[in-house]
Symmetry: C2
Subunit: 184 residues, 2 copies
């Protein structure tokens, strides 16, 4: 059981380690039509998404890990500002954001490793300001799935730019029929 | 107008060029839990998806471009076998599939460039066996969006493996609420 929990941490960091290079390979040097356009009013472009991932690296994931390790349930997490990137990304290029995301992710994974978390730490509890009690393993799993949910969004936002260009093939392309299913 | 059409070809190949490296960065070396598991009976794993992309490179996209250039509407495209990868990927590793996809995509993009397509070629027509008349620009646009729809699927399949692990955060992770919206 302990081994399984430990393996789960390795599985999780396996995804977290790969996301920056995957986004870099997908996005660096792409024409602006793919990078700067969104799905309409109050939606995000690829540029906005990378900016949001940076904010998560700065303010959300590792700070919350530390709150759990130091204070447990006693100190609720700070809320995650889902719109901070609107200001923080201003004046930057996508390439700068990709570099920044990769650097912060590397630092955070090094910091995570330095904590030398043990299998029994995975059940430590924290308090989410809206969701209530959560565990360290849930937080780490969410960090990885958060990467995947934004990769999911990114592929949809990019595909949307060609929703007319594909003509009748639209019927066969599921990504063009994704309603966004964003969480509240 | 002609310039815009030409630009569209460059925009399209900008995505097509990047997909193999993006998938490679995301998937190579990942534990099997991320690569070999699917979303349940008759669904695809990451391994299946890369195999499907290979089949498209072999049998679908460039062969259809050539049918349009040579025969126009007179010769309907061969149907795309969406299940050929079940046999063709057997006994291979994910790493072999990633290498094969990258090699085939490179060859196909070189072959596309060698056609030296002109803006006026983009309106050439072909006949899809089910969808009817389509244009060359629609075929090329679909090639790119087909990459994106499978990246969309891939992120969902991977996230699904952690649908319990994230605990209450599931409510905030849209990718876990994607119904698949596959085309018929």
């Amino acid at each position: 059981m302990a081994d399984l929990t430990q393996f789960s941490l390795a599985r999780t960091t396996a995804v977290l380690t790969r996301t920056p290079a995957a986004l870099d390979a997908l996005l660096r040097g792409l024409p602006d039509v793919w990078v700067r356009r969104n799905e309409g009013t109050s939606t995000w472009s690829a540029f906005d998404i990378v900016g949001h991932l940076i904010v998560g690296e700065r303010t959300d994931w590792m700070p919350r890990v530390r709150v759990i390790m130091v204070s447990g349930e006693a100190q609720p997490f700070d809320p995650f500002d889902r719109f901070a990137q609107e200001k923080e990304s201003q004046g930057k290029s996508l390439e700068q954001l990709l570099d920044e995301f990769a650097r912060l992710r590397n630092w955070n994974l090094a910091a995570l490793q330095a904590l030398n978390l043990q299998p029994e730490d995975m059940d430590r509890r924290g308090r989410h300001p809206a969701l209530g009690v959560v565990t360290l393993s849930e937080l780490l799993s969410t960090w990885a799935v958060h990467d995947l949910t934004h990769l999911h969004q990114l592929s949809r936002v990019m595909a949307y730019q060609y929703h007319d260009a594909v003509g009748p093939w639209s019927a066969y392309l599921g990504v063009l029929h994704c309603a966004g299913h964003s969480a509240p």
